[in-house]
């Protein structure tokens, strides 16, 4: 399947998938982002941890999230640090706060020249297939898809 890194013919640095993070990356491949959710206080959390940062409980399950959120902050890369991103410059990397609470680091896709990105802008999840083994949880400004 064609993706935005085809032109560069090189992939970005890959996530280190471990037993702790595999459910996160697998959920992206399965088409519905899942995060850890505390079985005791019901809080969602990210990054992954063996214990809940709210109540320290070690019981949790991987639960789907809505994929809706807002931009907490963002930066726009204008210099190339890695050739996989050459055709994407300038590109926006954002911290997105999901409506469930956790903040993810991600990249914005589907931006048009006249789009305005601000802290607080609503965004929604767009799962992007990078390779057979990797689907990334990227985000787009809410209401811009299709």
């Amino acid at each position: 399947m064609a993706n935005e890194f085809d032109e560069a013919m090189v992939l970005p640095p890959l996530p280190q998938v471990t037993e702790e993070t595999r459910p996160f990356w697998d959920s992206c491949k399965e088409g519905a982002l899942k995060l850890q959710r505390c079985s005791d206080c019901s809080e969602f959390r990210f990054p992954r941890s063996v214990a809940c940062p709210a109540c320290a409980s070690m019981s949790y399950s991987w639960e789907p999230v809505s994929g809706n959120g807002t931009i907490f902050s963002f930066v726009t890369f204008r210099r190339l640090y890695h050739k996989a991103f050459a055709s994407l410059l300038p590109y926006v990397v954002a911290v997105v706060e999901l409506s469930e609470g956790p903040r993810l680091l991600t990249r914005l896709v589907g931006l048009k020249d006249d789009d305005t990105v601000k802290c607080g802008s609503p965004v929604s999840l767009r799962l992007e297939t990078i390779s057979d083994d990797l689907v990334l949880p990227l985000f787009e400004l809410a209401g811009t898809h299709g």
Binding site: P13, S73, F74, V75, F77, R78, Y81, H82, R103, C119
Partner: protein, 395 residues
Amino acid sequence: MNTGLRDRYAIVGVGQSRLGEVEGSTALGLMMEASLEAMNDAGVQKSEIDGIICRGPDDMYGFHQQLGQLLGIDVGFSTTLDNGGASQILSIILAVSAIEAGLCNTVLCGYARDAWSRTHRSEEARMSQRASGAAVSPFARDIYSSETFGLFGAPAMHAFGAQRHMDLYGTTKDQLGAVAVAFREHANRNPLAQMHSKRLTLEDYRAGRPIVDPFNLYDCSLRTDAGGAVIVTSMERARDLRRAPVKIAGFGTHNNVSGWFHGENMVNTAAIQSSKKAYQMAGLGPKDIDAFEVYDCFTYMALVQLEDYGFCRKGEGGPFAESGALRLGGALPANTAGGQLSEGHAEGMLQIVEAVRQARHDYGPDRQVKDAEVVMVSGHGGNTVCHSSLVLKST
């Protein structure tokens, strides 16, 4: 807060190594240069040093042990610190604590790096090397898999804070530029500064090479080979030494180790709690500070600390910087030797050295903050969340 420590300890000597692009230098060699100069400045023999607290490049294990070996001394207390740019003031806090505990009497505190020499190439060359993929790990290394999403380098992490501050408070690029321009003017007066001979106007700043918005080249600190060192001892012992001691009036530290992305840590930094402790110990407030040697890894980090140290209200760091307050002769002269943006980046160690020199009135009228008695120093780092503060006072 133990206010009983106020004014009981002192910095009695300072030193710095050659600075800038010091071809062929090593961190340990630069650390030795700075250490020997500090001991000479204080009039302290190496046999009198019985504590070493220092920091070097992240990949050098036991930096304090290597320094001790080169000095050929055994000490009662020694360690290498790991709190990023907050470590250098922390070394002084730890020195006072160790002396107070009776573990040692005279402590060498220092930091050195060979950031330019070890790459031996310009930022431009380094970036093009990364862009070709040559120097980048095939795997994203942090807990957020940052590189997978295209996030590279320290500038971007700090730029998140700058962007949020701009959106919340209306801070402008020109206000960030006012920080860069003020510190550059100070470097132009400092013959040892890396940017001594390079002027920077606001127009130059605006035309800076884009890096990662909202930062351009001039928002980012320098790649420097440098070492700095100070000698800490009790006021009692300080009285017998060569130079007028500079009193340690107070210190503080705080660490938002919940992370840069957590809460409002990007715009309310750990400097808030750290400075509060330092003011309390010193029995002083923002109005008593004559000069501010502020940790400026990026323009924004200096700007936000103006608020977090109480020199202006939250959100008003931009207008405060733009007012010219940070210039020599301004309301709050800051980074009077040029700072990490223009003197050289030694993770805050050179800020401590400069604060001591200002408090001792070492300079002529072109560089001396007039009647400076109380100087605040800040240190910030360790993934942008760790902070330490130091109040120094003339004797």
